[in-house]
Chain length 501, copies 2
Amino acid sequence: MAFEKNETVRKLKEIEAKRSALAHASGLLYCDGVTVAPEDSTEGRARTTGILSAMEYELAASPETQKLLDELEEHLDELDEQERREVKVLRRETSKITKIPAEEYMQYSMLVSEASDVWIRAKNRNDYEMFAPYLEKIIAANRRMAQLWNPDDEPYNVLLDSFEEGLTMTACDEFFRTVRREIVPVIDKIKNVQTPHEPFALRNYPIEGQEKLALRLMELEGIDPRRCVLGTTEHPFTSGFNNHDVRITTHYHENAFLSSVYSVLHEGGHAIYEMGGDDRFNYTCLYGGASMSIHESQSRFYENIIGRSRPFSDRLLQECRVLFPEQLSDVTEEAFYREINRAEPSLIRTEADELTYSLHVMVRYEIEKRMIDGTLPVAKIPEVWNDLYEEYLGIRPENDRTGCLQDSHWSGGMLGYFPSYALGSAYGAQMLARMEQQVDGLWQAVAEGNLTPVTSWLHEHIHQYSALYPPMELLNRVCGRFDPSYYTDYLKTKYTSLYHL
Amino acid sequence: MAFEKNETVRKLKEIEAKRSALAHASGLLYCDGVTVAPEDSTEGRARTTGILSAMEYELAASPETQKLLDELEEHLDELDEQERREVKVLRRETSKITKIPAEEYMQYSMLVSEASDVWIRAKNRNDYEMFAPYLEKIIAANRRMAQLWNPDDEPYNVLLDSFEEGLTMTACDEFFRTVRREIVPVIDKIKNVQTPHEPFALRNYPIEGQEKLALRLMELEGIDPRRCVLGTTEHPFTSGFNNHDVRITTHYHENAFLSSVYSVLHEGGHAIYEMGGDDRFNYTCLYGGASMSIHESQSRFYENIIGRSRPFSDRLLQECRVLFPEQLSDVTEEAFYREINRAEPSLIRTEADELTYSLHVMVRYEIEKRMIDGTLPVAKIPEVWNDLYEEYLGIRPENDRTGCLQDSHWSGGMLGYFPSYALGSAYGAQMLARMEQQVDGLWQAVAEGNLTPVTSWLHEHIHQYSALYPPMELLNRVCGRFDPSYYTDYLKTKYTSLYHL
């Protein structure tokens, strides 16, 4: 039978549209659940989410979808660049699903759903024993899935690749070795010259003012409020359904106003990326960004590289003073800049500063490797976790709640996901070097509160392409080969100057 | 092949669970769109809604569903009461869908989606001509669908029945004739003794205080905040996904605080009904109440019969004074009660008082009858609308914006829906008569701000059953045969006393 290109591609787009509609519905259910839904509504939402995910499985595994992909793969040379990439991404995604028997897929969905509930309770009660049997099953299931997905590679490589196309343990090992070698000495030096928190950081900032500040920060970031709205939740996140419908969230603490400031800048960075993809990627499997690490490179760019830079810091202080004149009356620009960049070994990843952040990720990476290759029994995880914190950061958690129970990822079945956080930070530093070469007056504009040159550059080189290129290829196109020394140099220069080391 | 009851019923429940999940997702998309979604996100939401509705069609029309229903219908006597009703309701629903060819169904969905957008613009511009071609098509499509659904009955009867099982033009004509005969003379008398608005009603009530008042009213109504939350929107509504997940909405106007007060009491009444259904109806086609008119009987019960009663009025004034002491310092209980019950012919249905409300509905009913039987051309609707307002209410709209373009129903394809609003009010009055016979100390409790006796009675007789009984059968079980004189007597007694007629 002759290959009817137009008709076959039309059918492909139809499948992608269905996939995108189911993702929109599930994503909205999630957003709703953690922002405005009534407290006791969990059960109904879990049921609906389960049924929608079964529909996603059916769609991916259906003979029609598979036949269509087979047919298109035989005629790749007749497709344009975007169509070829859609076929590749959809094949990658559906084969991850279809290689797992339907029954196992459903059982795994139920396992992680239950494990997530148990994890929250275990964390609140500081009870690792309670969570351990679930983690045991999740590890076993991931090892098995990795073998089904690709029996020819080491399971942890397969898991890394599933979150970040092309990522390997070899690459991660090299990256983290460099980070550790370069950064740990800086952290050690800072310990000897550390000063207390600035008093302003601990004062009371009423929520109402913080809400206004959050909207002002979104405005400064250039976020179009007709396409992106802000909500409130416990653990901030960003959700995008298409480039005209993005949600960001933050949380407010009266005695720690900087927490929301940097949440908004971070999630705002994700949102700008989600809104920056070309219209042609909406409702296709290419919408939403190249990968998790590229996404983090963008969010952490706005949060840290711009948001914690001296030019932006001075401007930010001005903005904060408009809303909190009393609390900030006695603060100098220097003191403000030092406080937002205070570096100190700590126990909680999500609250870590820019300098120590990657070491938190490294602890998790080392543990995951050993979990998956079978050399670390589940019962030993808390001890090894604490040992690694002591080794890398020089402090030891006193309990599992602030230790190995702090993150949700494992309970949600996300093993192999953490390295993207650190890689994203490193990609951002390399992008900055290129941006500084190419954009005249970059920091002058930032000092004036004008982020347009930053966003325009990122849009031209990153955002517009969404997932058209695999993450590493995208980075190569913009900055050449990945080189972690941009990142370590950036951190060393910044912190040597900040702490007069 | 032998009939395997358990297995067949299990499959039925599975289909209902899917249907319920799709309804949950679509319902949430709607809620999101009119409360928190970004302004420019309409297109993506319309696409997702369209795809989910196609999935609903597929599920209803699938040979599996049809075969299952056939099989169960052959063995009705082996099913319990709830199972039999599920089969009946699901058959009614799926046959409405499957009698329309898939292509026509999709085209109609697209038509009403487009017409809704056009209607909003037409209303804002006061441009009936703009909307007329869409209304023309919607009327034609409804006439055709009515014939497909039931070729043996008059089309408008079929449409009435589709919203309210068993409702006919004969029943509506009789009902509205009674209402008109009894109520119009009362309205005429009031015209001669009308006094101006009380000054307090027009004062400024800051939104923040109104928000607190709304939450306090929900508390007074006995609404569990872990199952039901309040949002803000332009046109208030209630959505329920299961008895643990209900959303109500309101709107705030600084210079008309009573608007939100009565919105909250009204939507709260819907919410109490949605939360009051037994757990066994969750995720089945019986969840959500017996019908639109029974639903309105509940919402209008809390809004009017309780909410505008003298005992509640006095209590409400106390509650409002806590939050607005200045604005309400000079108001007597008598003046407050008169103001919340002020009756006056007006142009907008949703803002009409309890006395004139049914006449607004009657205008729409008379027009719909003639639309559907083909005796009223679309071009003539504005004129006939205005004539009927003049005839029934004694005032004539000056433009179509406050005339026949005011309601969204026709643009959404809902022809035959309006009568339920008036019927609901009448059912409520009949329920009140029975409640007063059966509940000792009813009004004493209400005066103390205790609505538990009201809600308990409604729960016992109405709420717990959800859609287990057809609406008229439910009413019969509680109150005997429907008799509109309860309603007209209730209104005549109340307004004769209020206006000293």
